[in-house]
């Protein structure tokens, strides 16, 4: 990286056209002087012009040299790049799957944008996709085939776009549309609309009410999940009431008083879990109105608190829907970034050895990821070293050892009793039991 920096620096200071421009300027000066001489003394014009020939030629030689310098800088930079990025190619083998599924990729992106709270971008995106939507693809026959066989793919396209476009209307029409549309919408579509609406209020308008309402409705589930979202929102509300200036009331304590009232109504419900936090919040009342210098400053002057609450809300909302909390697109692309160098290397080595990976279902190498990226338990049969699948599930022998069914079948072939491969215990193959890992 240092080399690239250096080469770039070189380019910035030396490898640019400023010198060339200076040279052109001196050419202009030269021409200008000659012109002035000729104008002043026309009788000598032939002499002046004759004298001009060589310097003009030199100027242009100089210009070309200037350019060469720029070019040199560019080559040096390119060389630095080449040293840095030794492999120019990117792995290609697995991408084709995605090329055929543009629609699903688009859907994933639209959902990702919503999650990120980029509502405007999402809206533009949905608009642009649906403008392009009736896809007059080159192999349209094939598309129709798929459609007739399953009735699925094309319908899917339309429905997610409509889903999100609906969500869009809700954004524009506000609460009424939510109430009106309640009956027609269902499933994910409706839920996304809700999330869209609540998040928009929370993040963009700093309106806590819809989120608090939602949290209250799902209070029980939230507690089961061990979430403190409801309390976080109540705390934000407390702070909001505390600090909002009321124009009507000239009492400087109007804010804190309203906050106190809110606390009396709401906080008892949290007493079990958050006794410490609630009492600390109430303690802040003693410092009003000099909060800026009080120990409570971080509670009250925290610009990112709405962002945090939005993130927390998104996490809980998605969790309850069975959607992962981090954007799957983000997780997958990050994992891809980590795994890619390994896959690239494999592809390179395979190409050299003219080998071919025969199993299309499984990657040829391990692609280690950071610990947070493991979401399922994984069972690898200790006998065959294969991962268990629906077709080859894990089987537990009476002794408690687990092997894959294919291994079990091989091991017990033609025998009525078999010994466990890992302990002295003997059992009948029929006694092995399917387990779900």
């Amino acid at each position: 990286m240092d080399n690239i920096f250096a080469a770039h620096k070189q380019q910035e200071t030396k490898g640019n056209l400023s010198k060339t421009i200076d040279s052109v300027q001196s050419l202009i000066d030269l021409l200008q002087t000659t012109r002035d001489h000729v104008a002043a003394d026309p009788s000598m014009s032939a002499l002046h012009l004759a004298k001009l020939q060589t310097p003009v030629k030199q100027s242009f030689t100089k210009l070309e040299e200037d350019l060469k310098e720029v070019n040199k800088g560019m080559n040096a930079y390119q060389k630095a790049l080449k040293d840095k990025f030794k492999t120019a190619s990117l792995p290609t083998s697995t991408n084709e799957v995605l090329n055929e599924k543009e629609d699903l990729v688009n859907r994933a992106i639209a959902m990702h944008l919503l999650r990120e709270g980029k509502f405007n971008v999402a809206r533009t995106f949905v608009k642009e996709v649906s403008a392009k939507a009736p896809p007059v693809s080159e192999d349209s026959e094939e598309t129709i085939d798929v459609d007739m066989e399953t009735g699925q793919p094309l319908n899917n396209t339309r429905s997610w776009i409509e889903d999100l476009a609906d969500a869009d209307d809700v954004m524009i029409d506000g609460m009424e549309a939510v109430a009106d549309g309640e009956l027609e919408r269902s499933g994910l579509q409706k839920k996304f609309t809700d999330m869209y609406h609540i998040l928009d209020s929370l993040r963009n308008q700093h309106n806590l009410e819809p989120a608090i309402e939602w949290a209250r409705q799902h209070s029980f589930e939230l507690e089961n999940r061990g979430s403190n979202l409801e309390f976080e929102l109540a705390r934000l509300k407390f702070v909001e009431l505390y600090t909002t200036e009321d124009i009507m009331a000239d009492d400087p304590f109007a804010g804190p008083l309203r906050a106190l009232e809110y606390a009396r109504e709401t906080f008892p419900a949290f007493n079990n879990r958050y006794a410490r936090e609630t009492s600390s919040l109430l303690g802040s009342l003693a410092f009003s109105p000099e909060l800026g210098t009080s120990p409570y400053k971080p509670f009250f002057h925290n610009s990112s608190s709405f962002e945090e609450a939005s993130a927390s809300f998104t996490r809980e909302f998605c969790g309850m829907l069975g959607l992962s909390s981090q954007s799957p697109l983000y997780t997958a692309v990050t994992a891809g970034g980590i795994a890619l160098p390994i896959l690239e290397k494999v592809e390179r080595v395979m190409a050299q050895a003219r080998g071919q990976w025969t199993s299309v279902n499984e990657l040829p190498v391990e692609t280690p990821l950071p610990p947070g990226f493991a979401f399922h338990s994984i069972f690898v049969c200790p006998v065959s070293k294969e991962q268990a699948t629906d077709a080859n599930p894990p089987m537990m022998l009476p002794c408690g050892h687990v092997i894959a069914r294919e291994s079990l079948d091989m091991h017990s072939k033609g025998k009525s009793r078999m010994k466990c491969p890992y302990c002295p215990n003997e059992s009948h193959p029929r006694e092995a039991k399917r387990v779900y890992i």
């Binding site: 003009v56 090329n99 533009t124 997958a332 994992a335 160098p341 391990e366 200790p382 050892h401």
Partner: protein, 395 residues
Amino acid sequence: MAELTTTKLDPDNHLLLDQPLLRLPNELLRKNLKTAQRHIEQTNKNVTKDVQAAVGQQPDQALASLEATLAKAQNLKRKLEQLHAEEQSLQRQQRLRIEHLQQLHEIPSLADVKYDTWSHTRLDRLLVDYLLRQGYTQSARELAAEKNINDLVDVDVFEDCGRIEKSLLDGRTQECLSWCSENKQALKKINSNLELELRLQQFIELARSGDVKNQVDAIVHARKHLAGGQDTEFGLRAGGLLAHPPDTLVEPYRMMYSPERYIHLARQFVKTHHELFSLPSQPLLHIALSAGLSALKTPSCHSEYALQANANTGAPVCPICSTELNELARNVPYAHHTKSYMEDDPVVLPNGRVFGRERLKRLNEKLGTDPGKIKDPTDMETEWDERELKKVYIS
């Protein structure tokens, strides 16, 4: 044997996806320089000629031509100043990009929170790249602006490319031809026959109309542009085409008359364009995403029986199982593992489900199961005696 998990960050390998980020500005700078060179050469020729001619002229004529020459030099300066401004903005962009990649070198490990931030920015870059390539330009612009990554993405380059691509799809070759002449040298270097294909298309249009005057024009056109000697094939095909009317069924002439040729041309243009600017032919998002889908996918993700981590277990939902990606990942291979990955102290319930003992206990406490009893938290249907739990050995 490779490690099961890793937090090691090797920035040099990690930047595999990010080469175009640094290569593209360099290509653009080079193009800028080539333009400057062209301007200088042209002015050189004109000025030298003028000055030489002026020597033998009358004084007032000489004065006039000197002034004209002066104007040419000043014009050159103006053009160079424009190019210089462009150059400076490109170099500034280049610096920002280098700095962005440098950030990665300063991150100690994949578990670092800074890596998370960096990776988010990368995702945004890849998304903008994807949107641009698919022609969702407005979305791309908005996303880049909202995420403040305008200097890390190449909206203008792709927009230009999209404009020319569209002009071809609409049946116009002019825009693309002028692009070809702007990049003449570079195209020659990569042995592209894009320009020949376009000239042939012009020829086809002339031949299509059928009247004699146009046919003659077509021949003149072919002599001028298709007989250049690079590839005699084009001249031959053009000659053959003249012998066939537009409604011919004879191949390859039927294909040549077909309007679908424009689709083919558009595709070839995009391919050539990306090659010229060192852009990968596929969206980077596809490359990263398909690798990621595979690296994360397990046989459980599309299994009918596998334990679905639902709300009751409180486990994070797998991104591949999540609605967004599930269908997309159906046909990609799953990750390769050589070791089982299990919670500590696994036990099996009478219904065959395996859990870590600690977690199962914790979940049951949360669900309010009576002491000494146990339920499967995923369905909560049956209640068993705790003694029915059986230790299971998974190696």
